[in-house]
């Protein structure tokens, strides 16, 4: 037990002196970095606009309340589109992510030296580029609309699903695989009877989790023209129709809460 002597009596200390100093140094350097970065940000900020924020908030609240309830009738179609973008995007992503995950997992990849790094690169590139940036690219290629949104969501989700899935594949119990192989099963049969049953719960959980995230993401791809409720949101902001904007925000909250409830139910049923 670390102790220190003060006035001749032992006093309990939480850490040894060296460790205490290391912790203190970590806090000190962390604080320095934070303060320095904050200063750099603050140099680039027009503080006049920031100080004005409270008036702006009041102004915006005044315009947003009461919400324009009749606008809700126009919103059903974009909401349906948003849900479709999320769902179809997830379906496409899963179809592509499954083979990628098997190629990336150390124990199922055909070649650790060549195929695995390529699969990992696919995963990282898809994960590091946001759905909004994918949408920006795709709107220019396939034209504005729901289709661009679906593909953007799909491209973005491949990395996420494949990463979690290949981690699950690497954690499977090798004994079961060996047992199936020992019966004289071919490569495909080992996959179907030795590996797939073990990763099925993880697979279902990951898919539902990603669908839930995609509902959120699909609300914004419309901001750059890729369909769904984001399109309405950006057009209403352009028109300064703040009372309609508040309805859209309420609709988004409601959708997200419902999707979270659905995914919690489904995950509960699986696990």
């Amino acid at each position: 037990m670390p102790t220190s002597i003060r006035n001749g009596s032992q006093i309990w200390r939480r850490r040894e002196r060296g460790r205490q100093l290391a912790v203190w140094a970590a806090w000190f350097s962390g604080t320095l970095i934070f303060v320095y970065c904050f200063k750099l940000i603050s140099d680039k900020t027009t503080w006049l606009f920031v100080l004005d924020a409270w008036t702006q908030t009041q102004d915006m609240a005044y315009r947003m309340v009461p919400p324009n309830w009749s606008y809700l009738n126009v919103l059903w179609r974009p909401l349906w589109d948003t849900i479709n973008i999320a769902t179809l995007g997830t379906v496409i992503a899963v179809i592509i992510a499954v083979p990628v995950a098997f190629l990336a997992a150390r124990n199922t990849t055909p070649s650790v030296a060549v195929v695995r790094p390529i699969a990992l690169l696919v995963i990282v590139s898809s994960r590091s580029i946001n759905a909004l940036i994918w949408a920006l690219l795709l709107v220019a290629i396939v034209g504005p609309g729901v289709f661009a949104g679906i593909i953007a969501i799909a491209l973005r989700s491949i990395g996420f699903v494949a990463k979690l899935l290949y981690e699950a594949i690497e954690e499977i119990d090798p004994n079961q695989v060996e047992a199936v192989a020992a019966t004289g099963a071919g490569r495909g049969q080992v996959l179907a009877y030795g590996i797939v049953p073990q990763i099925m719960p993880a697979f279902a959980g990951i898919t539902v989790f990603r669908w839930d995230i995609n509902i959120r993401e699909s609300t914004v791809v419309g901001l750059v023209g890729a369909g769904g409720i984001g399109l309405e949101l950006s057009s209403q902001i352009m028109e300064l129709g703040w009372s309609s904007v508040s309805i859209i925000l309420l609709a988004i909250i409601a959708t997200v809460v419902v999707s979270e409830w659905v995914s919690a139910k489904v995950r509960h049923a699986i696990i």
Binding site: I41, N84, S128, N130, L132, I150, I252, I253
Partner: protein, 242 residues
């Protein structure tokens, strides 16, 4: 199964896809991809460096502020240590900040605080609260209650109880989550810029607007490289902590 089939049919049936436009766009897509290669790091090199650095500052500041805001919210949102009214209030805060994508929040904060990195920092901090407080609260709920009780039994005050009974139990998760959020905040800082929140996103948006796709490709490559570095180093740090 049947429900899924019906839904798929409905969804595919009502999704308007202008296949002609898609078909027309494919050659354009090829041109587009060709315009990306080779990536041009040099001609906008200074802007790219500026943008990346700004993104990194924003990431650091917003993660710290976000975590400072999340800790009290997480304590309030843990059912085993918070009274019921506080619990509901904190859960509502989390639900609201999780419902909105960073980009939607950014649109509003850009309106309130003006263009520039400050709006981006506020956005990312708020978004951090929804993520961090939720996961931290779940970890606090899963903790071993007997350890906290043992500390309480020594006659400790509330803060001592938090600091010696609960904090050591959630610390590994806390550090892991902070690193993960640092990584997410960097990636998100690339998009808040598109709506005016500063950082590399602003540079990227400018590159697209000027049709300088080779510079845009360079920016995307830099983002991917940094995210990859972050991913590797965070897994090392997490192993070192545990």
């Amino acid at each position: 199964m049947l429900g899924a089939a019906v839904y798929l049919a409905l969804a595919l049936g009502t999704t308007e896809v202008n296949w002609e436009r898609v078909w027309e766009g494919l050659p354009r897509g090829k041109q587009f991809l060709l315009a990306f290669a080779p990536p041009d790091f040099a001609s906008r090199g200074e802007d790219i460096l500026d943008g990346i650095l700004e993104s990194l500052w924003m990431t650091a500041v917003s993660t710290v502020i976000g975590i400072m805001l999340s800790v009290p919210v997480a304590l309030g949102a843990a059912r085993n240590i918070a009274p019921l009214p506080v619990y509901y209030f904190c859960r509502a805060v989390i639900a609201i900040s999780r419902s909105f994508q960073e980009v939607i929040l950014a649109i509003f904060f850009v309106k309130l605080f003006g263009f520039g990195p400050f709006a981006g920092v506020v956005t990312l901090s708020i978004a951090t609260v929804g993520f961090f407080a939720k996961l931290l609260a779940e970890d606090i709920e899963d903790m071993d209650a007997s350890q906290a009780e043992a500390v309480r039994a020594t006659g400790s005050g509330w803060f001592q109880w938090l600091n010696y009974g609960i904090q050591p139990q959630v610390m590994p998760r806390f550090i892991g989550l902070s690193l993960y959020r640092l990584d997410i905040n960097f990636r998100e800082s690339a998009v808040v810029g598109i709506v005016g929140g500063g950082g590399i996103g602003a540079t990227l948006d400018t590159a697209f607007d000027r049709y300088e796709f080779d510079s845009a490709a360079a920016i995307l490559i830099v983002i991917i490289a940094i995210v990859m570095c972050a991913e590797y180093s965070s897994s090392y740090i997490r192993r070192w902590v545990q």
